[in-house]
């Protein structure tokens, strides 16, 4: 964990209520894709945990959806504004088990952490397939960015207004063989993925957090390996350990 000040470079609306923020600062403590940062915001007591979409060359990329007061405040921030951020939080994805053809499945704002993961896997010579699930066409983001990395991309929308109609699991039949999977998204989607997938994999969870670094036990969950803190022992849990 490292506390440092980041300066906003850009903050733009990329889909319905979804914003992409890039910041310059010290990303040296981020040790794995799938980790998150915890952001102090003026006028709010608790920090806001946001998953890391990318971190490279001193630039941190975060994609967040406006769902409450904190993210509403963030959406109004301009270039040059400084934020106090804790970085290097959570375990992140473990890529050692990915095999040759890993599958990445993201839903809504669960998509962002899979971006840096995809980049990492491709850099290591993997053939990466990605399923991105959204509610509607206006919610879709990052399809082109994943394609630009060299991933095979399937997009689903629940209302059928773009891509394959239905949920991420409706695209599973189309992807062919995969060696392992990584997924992040709302819990109903994670459950559906848990039941529909044929290999082992890793799930990224979210929970309301107090500290974000393992001190308060605010975000504990039960697993087959005992109780775990989503913020410190997670947010990534292996399929074998999950208790729904």
């Amino acid at each position: 964990m490292k506390q440092s000040i980041f300066k906003i470079l850009t903050n733009e609306n990329i889909a319905d209520k979804v914003y992409k923020m890039t910041l310059s600062g010290d990303v040296s403590d981020i040790s794995a894709t799938g980790q998150f940062v915890n952001i102090k915001l003026d006028g709010m007591f608790l920090r806001r945990p946001i998953s890391v979409c990318d971190y490279e060359d001193g630039v941190l990329t975060l994609i967040y959806k406006v769902v409450g007061k904190g993210t509403e405040f963030m959406s109004g921030l301009k270039e040059g504004y400084e934020l106090d951020i804790l970085t290097g939080l959570g375990n992140g994805y473990y890529t050692g088990l990915a095999g040759d053809k890993p599958l990445l499945i993201g839903g809504g704002v669960g998509v962002p952490p899979l971006y840096a993961l995809a980049k990492d896997l491709i850099a290591n010579g993997k053939k990466v397939t990605v399923i991105l699930g959204f509610n509607s066409k206006s919610d879709v983001f990052y399809e082109e960015e994943f394609k630009a990395l060299g991933c095979t991309v399937f997009v689903t929308t629940a209302d059928g207004s773009y891509g394959i109609k239905g949920f991420v699991t409706n695209a599973l039949d189309l992807v062919g063989d995969y060696t392992y999977f990584y997924t992040c998204g709302p819990e109903p989607m994670l459950k559906a993925v848990y039941n529909a997938t044929s290999t082992s994999g890793q799930f990224s969870f979210e929970e309301r957090m107090g500290c974000g670094f393992g001190a308060c036990m605010g975000c504990s969950c039960k697993t087959k390996y005992g109780s775990m803190r989503i913020c410190k022992d997670g947010p990534v849990l292996v399929k074998e350990g999950i208790v729904w």
Partner: protein
């Protein structure tokens, strides 16, 4: 050179700053980012006889100048705390630690306090009487003078180390409860625990916290804590560890003027992991600003 030392039941602290139980775990998360030996001491995670997972999530809610938590005393149980956590803690913290103990019956308090009292690393035992009494219709031990005194007496009978009773502010008359604990043999009072509160999610129209209500802490409750410490200081002779919303070195001085011999810092640790370090480093500057040479001299100074 200002003097930040205080003495708590015969044990000298380099400074009065003590991270509060439940906001500091067993210290490891903080030991990763700064040397926690700079602290006066710290109060470790509330420990019970049996291991507890605690309450369902969500356990946390944002509030104006504070937060609500309903963790529900998640801990590995007294045996594991002694066999696993304390040896680990010894590697990163070399001062006497404050052991925070909770129970759901008098027997549980006695069982845990008797065990923890034998641990060399433990300097003080802080007894949380805010838990519900399973034999008393679920009412908290801390809500009336009789039951708080009963816990105090039972614990004192099996311990040799100083016992601090941690009081709940969710009572009609905290002074009478503090006095009852003093009469029952308590060596000191820790106060205040969190204030019972609630938030409701406007989207779901239901409480945010799965347990519906939880403990409100953070800078918002500082005035309430100051008032209660001030009142209890007038009524008891034993030392008070003051807590509730302490965030800055100025808050520490204010709490000591109200009557606290030492202070605990709780919620601030969660949003600012360096909170205690920052307060300790800032104390000499603030003492000089207010022309305070020794912290010992200001205890109860507002009376």
């Amino acid at each position: 050179m200002v003097d930040t030392k205080v003495t708590l039941s015969g044990i000298e602290l380099d400074n009065p700053i003590i991270p509060a139980s439940g906001t500091f775990g067993f210290g490891y998360e903080f030991a990763e980012i700064y040397d926690i030996n700079m602290l006066g001491t710290f109060s470790f995670k509330g420990t019970t006889k049996e291991a507890r997972f605690g309450n369902p999530t969500p356990r946390i809610a944002e509030c104006p100048s504070g937060m609500i938590n309903a963790v529900g005393l998640q801990n590995p149980g007294i045996e594991k705390v002694i066999s696993e956590e304390l040896p680990e803690l010894k590697k990163c913290f070399h001062k006497p630690v404050m052991a925070n103990i909770s129970g759901f019956s008098i027997d549980e308090y006695v069982y845990c306090c008797e065990k923890i009292d034998k641990e060399e690393q433990v300097g003080w035992i802080e007894v949380n009487v805010s838990c519900p009494n399973v034999h008393g219709g679920g009412m908290s031990f801390g809500v009336c003078p009789e039951s708080a005194a009963e816990v105090t007496k039972a614990v004192k009978a099996v311990t040799t180390k100083p016992v601090y009773i941690k009081l709940s502010p969710n009572v009609t008359d905290i002074v009478s409860i503090a006095k009852a604990c003093e009469e029952a043999g308590a060596d000191g009072i820790s106060m205040i625990n969190t204030m019972l509160g609630m938030r409701i999610n406007l989207n779901t129209k239901k409480p945010i916290i799965a347990n519906k209500m939880g403990g409100y802490s953070g800078s918002a409750i500082l005035p309430v804590a100051l008032r209660m410490v001030y009142q209890v200081y007038e009524a008891v002779k034993i030392p008070i560890i003051g807590m509730g919303g302490i965030t800055t070195a100025e808050d520490v001085i204010e709490m000591m003027l109200a009557g606290a011999t030492a202070v605990q810092v709780g919620a601030a640790n969660l949003i600012e992991p360096y909170a205690c370090k920052n307060i300790i480093e800032d104390l000499p500057r603030v003492m000089e600003k207010y022309r305070i040479n020794s912290l010992k001299e200001i205890i109860g100074g507002a009376h």
